[in-house]
Symmetry: C2
Subunit: 419 residues, 2 copies
């Protein structure tokens, strides 16, 4: 039975430290070079989609889609995303190879043209709400545009709605980024109640926009995945159809960087985005859209494909969670969620220890996501959050890396306690 | 021997009109449905690149390029474009499926972040110089951002440099769009002297930027193509390396909408663009970049491929030019260039007649590019310019369409003359 570190005497801690240091040095001697920093699929996951590259005909619905035209996506691919996301095709724009670009371009459009009357570039200050910990690339977009980021605490069922309802009384608060299902990094899925409260928001800013980054919409680790309420089913009750811009992609379904993204939005927002697209492109890559449709056939095909990913990913999550549980539970030095999907495990260690854990890991050859990256401006005030990305390394390597991580967490906490 | 229309009597013109009307009505009876409106490659041109879709391995320089990463393009593809465009790889960013997006995104970046100190969105007025006639999609980008467009007359060797040198004394003139080789629509290639004068410009605006849209850089119709001076070889003499952003793409080499684009710029500009890209994308589609490299192998491979396009396109240009020559020359009612490459033939008809020509053609089943589209705001003051796009229809259809066009030009001019 593990003992709480805070209840251990200095001598007990030092004895524990000695044991851990020996284990740590043994690891160092192995000269490991392991990477748990980014949510990259493993090569075996990429192999699952290789057949996609052997499409013979590029005729779709009777149209030669090798040529110019069809700005918002070929109908078959719009339908595929519409079926997956539970919306109508008319509310889908099939986008470029990454939903990140869809999000960046939308924020850029808000700056240059605005959503209502005033382009955001004409305002003295624009603020966004950021559930934390969160996805570093959302923060990078916001920082790029000089948008002031306000941290919103994530709770077990989604972001702190009381705080959000308070902040949106400020008209300069223009939006929020969310990953509503299997949030990055915690793997939290917003509860129905949270989704409804979000859909019901009445922000002071009429041009308030929520970027609903549904990156892990069908990325369950097994058959008992979380179910996210479709916010577009709820928004109309509150007359808020225009408040949400949803994005998703096949980056973690087929190929990261060579997948297809999609944007889902109200009729008004689709019209405003198409107006911009009309100047920005003639079409996105329709041949790649067609490859995806031919490969999957329909939404069920995508879901069946995701089970193959789950079969590869589940053991990776399990091995990391086993180490966390074996070595860290009951000691009062770390907390984590057991996500049912997504790409990350979020580990909160004793305040003031996360950076030191990152250092110790790096010295022993294991790279974690930069500590702090899960917070706006790279600043985790509590120096507590560590994002673990188990997808890329093979299980045998993960086994080592996760063990080392647990050793480092314990060492850092003991250092902190005995000063 | 043709007679000048202006020297013909009313009776002669009416007799001519009668003959033309009969021919026109014969055409109408055919119920044609032909499209010469856009510079779309023909299906046989697209077939030339079909083998590109059968790449077996997606490993490039030892890297699995199916996964995340490599923001500015895989090295092999950067080198391919560098060799084609006569620059170093470090000055190339391989972009998305269309250079149009590279141009739009760059202008957007100038608005949100600026080139020097002041983002353009903070300025009261931004103006651009537009050689006319020009490419409608350039004008659409400028209009989208509310940039005031100033017409610059195209001469036989490029834009009117005297006018440009005068306009750039105005600090609110921030840039210019150019198609320096086989200009759209006239097919004019800028002379060495013009390129040098452009490279030597000393604009009042320190953040003056020329978008050098080299869309037809290797798109010759035969072995005697025009040679464009590489502006990046000349800019350093004048300390103007940062003034030009060049773009190109494989849209008319492999697949429109599923090709690869590239941006070529100075070290400073590349750094500024990469800073934005770091927020906008993780990478563009590297698998498509790799397909292109595997298919072409090197720059010579691309050039050899272009000869196959030329073999298909040359007869199409020839049949149109033959009709223009047979029916319109010597009558004082139309002028055109014989382009050595590119995708268009530009026809200037008697002032005040172009719209009527468009109407007559449409009524008989032939669609031309909207008259006026080759001018900013869609306004051709002289109502004279017609852009002919001969690439898409098969030769037999072009033969009909070009004959009909010539009939319509003559009819419209006679209508104008006899009132």
């Amino acid at each position: 039975m593990a003992k709480l570190y805070v209840e251990m005497s200095a001598e007990e801690l030092k004895a524990e430290q000695k044991v851990l240091e020996n284990r740590y040095n043994d690891f160092k001697a192995k000269n490991l070079k392991l990477d748990m920093s980014r949510g990259k699929p493993g090569a075996d996951q990429l192999d699952l989609s290789d057949a996609m590259n052997h499409v013979e005909s590029y005729v779709s619905d009777g149209v030669d889609i090798r040529n110019y035209g069809i700005m918002d996506g070929i109908p078959s691919c719009k339908k595929l995303f519409a079926d997956l996301m539970g919306v109508e095709s008319k509310n889908v724009i099939v986008g470029p190879n990454a939903s990140l670009t869809l999000m960046f371009d939308y924020i850029s459009q808000c700056f240059t043209h605005g959503v209502g009357d005033t382009p955001w570039c004409k305002l003295d200050e624009v603020k966004f709400l950021c559930p934390v910990p969160g996805y570093d690339r959302h923060f990078t977009i916001l920082e790029h545009f000089g948008i002031k980021m306000i941290n919103i605490e994530m709770k077990a069922d989604g972001p702190d709605m009381d705080a959000i309802e308070e902040y949106i009384k400020d008209e300069s608060v223009k939006g929020m980024f969310c990953v509503p299902k299997y949030s990055n990094p915690q793997g939290i899925t917003f509860s129905d109640d949270v989704v409804k409260r979000i859909a019901a928001l009445k922000p002071a800013a009429k041009d308030f926009r929520i970027i609903w980054d549904n990156a892990y919409c069908i990325h369950d680790l097994d058959d008992n995945g979380d179910v996210l309420l479709n916010i577009f089913d709820v928004l109309p009750q509150f007359g808020n159809e225009d408040m949400v811009i949803e994005v998703c992609s096949t980056s973690k379904i087929t190929f990261p960087g060579a997948g297809v993204s999609a944007l889902i939005a109200s009729d008004n927002n689709i019209a405003a985005i198409k107006k911009r697209l009309n100047a920005q492109t003639i079409s996105y890559d329709k041949m790649n859209q067609h490859r995806h449709v031919e490969f999957f056939k329909n939404a069920d095909g995508v879901k069946a494909h995701m089970k193959k990913h789950a079969a590869i990913l589940k053991p990776k999550f399990d091995i990391v969670l086993k180490h966390l549980d074996d070595e860290l539970s009951g000691k009062g030095i770390a907390q984590w969620f057991n996500p049912k999907g997504g790409y990350f495990i979020s580990l909160d260690v004793m305040n003031g220890c996360a950076k030191r854990v990152g250092e110790l890991c790096r010295e022993a050859g294991v790279v974690l996501t930069s500590v702090g990256a899960t917070y706006p401006y790279g600043v985790d005030d509590k120096d507590s959050n560590i994002r673990i990305a188990p997808s890329f390394p093979p299980v045998a390597e993960l086994d080592l890396a996760a063990e080392l991580l647990c050793i480092c967490v314990q060492l850092a906490c003991i250092e902190k306690l005995i000063g």
